[in-house]
Symmetry: none
Subunit: 250 residues, 2 copies
DNA sequence: TCTTGACCCTCCTCTTAGGTCAGCCCTTTT
DNA sequence: AAAAGGGCTGACCTAAGAGGAGGGTCAAGA
């Protein structure tokens, strides 16, 4: 008994288009093509389709399903890897849902949802490590003796600065982890951008000032530990980079 | 202070490409375009970008983010809806992960993973109910009213199906004797597994189809007596259970 | 002033897993 | 013989950008 696309579709609840698609990908090839060009599937193909659907349900990409069906050696490996990925996604989803709930209650209570709340949700996520969280609170002190005092611009401006500082630090940490030289142009540019931002927010910080500040961080336990807590070596990397910039700017 | 795309990218960790994209969508429009056509963003745009990123992290599609930022009336509605969607996705993910685990242990123990196991994972999912409904009504007529009859497919296949059907019926009979409610989750799951098995063997049976079939059994002497011969009340119990499933699936 | 390198622009194609026509061919039924 | 209901290919569409080609712009050093 051979089945046409429509029939296979009805049996398996896969659309005709999907069958075409699987054929084109070589994932499910009809056992026979009629004279008129019709796709005809047999029992073996139906069985294969069931397996495809099984893996599809596990959210495997079609290309990987092909591999899974072809060579069953890696099957276990792939399954385990997939499990890890799905677990990560689940973790992430849970974090996002928590944030969402928070936002909902905030709105319900009439709070307009300010930026600090907005970014609370990111703490659990990869983009904003826990390390960043504390830093966000202390970064104001990090930059100058009293930059947290908002002279003008108001609260939103302050939050913007905290966000920028956090983002900057993350970039530095990432560069460090990526093995980028402390005097690499890209990194130097990042610092310049950061300084420009600071300057645009009422904090006059020259390259030399910044270098002095980072040297201070090395000797100050609180600041150093904060930076090192985020990424081992970050305090030193930052200082080297700042000094390189100051030397170049000088 | 105005920022170029690169600078905004560095501050916000959004790629330049994404900024282009947001511009094209009208989601984030630069406050100024330089003479040379450069995009220039101000503080207000940076702030808006933060909000965009917030919602993006919540997995809102960009189009909806636009609405969210434009009119804050529906904000709560949209947040709640989004929460529901994410919760569903989480549920689904959990089911899939469980299935995955099951497959992994099956393979570890050397079992070749048979179809029944394969489809256990699908029981909880909506995919297995919704789409089937209408199409199968039609199919019941098209492919005969009695999918239990093996038209062809070979003897081993037939034996397997007969074995599965017998096992299923025994489980139903046992449940009946054990006093398990017809709408108990465990029982419903057993039926779903059975249907999944049927489907994997070329017999399209939706929950509604199955319910119709069991009703038919009640009126057909041959079938009813067969069931009642196995266990008194089984035909009725089966019908009640099937109808409960169909109602739930609907 | 010229060149170099880092930016910037637009436009094009590519990705997943198919969905949705449009236009034409095949099979079955009336 | 014609109508209905398949089937086929092929082109274009989706979300959220990534990657690259080809070309313009800006600042710095020689």
């Amino acid at each position: 008994m051979l089945y046409t696309v429509k029939e296979v579709s009805a049996i398996s609840h896969v659309t005709v288009k999907a069958l075409h698609h699987y054929h084109k990908l070589g994932l499910l090839v009809p056992c026979e093509i009629s004279e008129a060009g019709y796709r005809l599937y047999g029992a073996k193909e139906l069985e294969r389709l069931q397996h495809i659907l099984f893996y599809r349900e596990l959210e495997f990409p079609l290309e990987q399903i092909k591999e899974l069906l072809e060579k069953e050696d890696d099957r276990l490996t792939l399954l385990l890897r997939q499990e890890q990925q799905l677990l990560q996604r689940k973790q992430r989803l849970e974090g996002v849902i928590a944030t969402l709930r928070h936002s909902v209650t905030s709105i319900r209570e009439g709070k307009p949802m300010n930026d600090r709340e907005m970014f609370k949700g990111f703490e659990t996520e990869e983009a904003w490590n826990e390390a960043l969280k504390e830093q966000n609170q202390h970064l104001g002190q990090t930059y100058g003796m009293e930059p947290l005092q908002v002279e003008e611009g108001g609260v939103p401006d302050m939050n913007e600065q905290a966000a920028e500082a956090a983002a900057f630090m993350k970039e530095m940490a990432d560069s460090l982890k990526a093995g980028i030289r402390h005097d690499h142009g890209q990194l130097q540019q990042a610092i310049r951008t950061h300084l420009a931002f600071m300057n645009s927010h009422g904090h006059a910080v020259s390259a030399a000032d910044f270098a002095a500040q980072t040297r201070f961080f090395l000797s100050d336990d609180f600041h150093r530990q904060m930076l090192e807590g985020q990424q081992t070596g970050l305090a030193y990397y930052l200082c080297a980079a700042a000094e390189a910039l100051a030397a170049a700017a000088e």
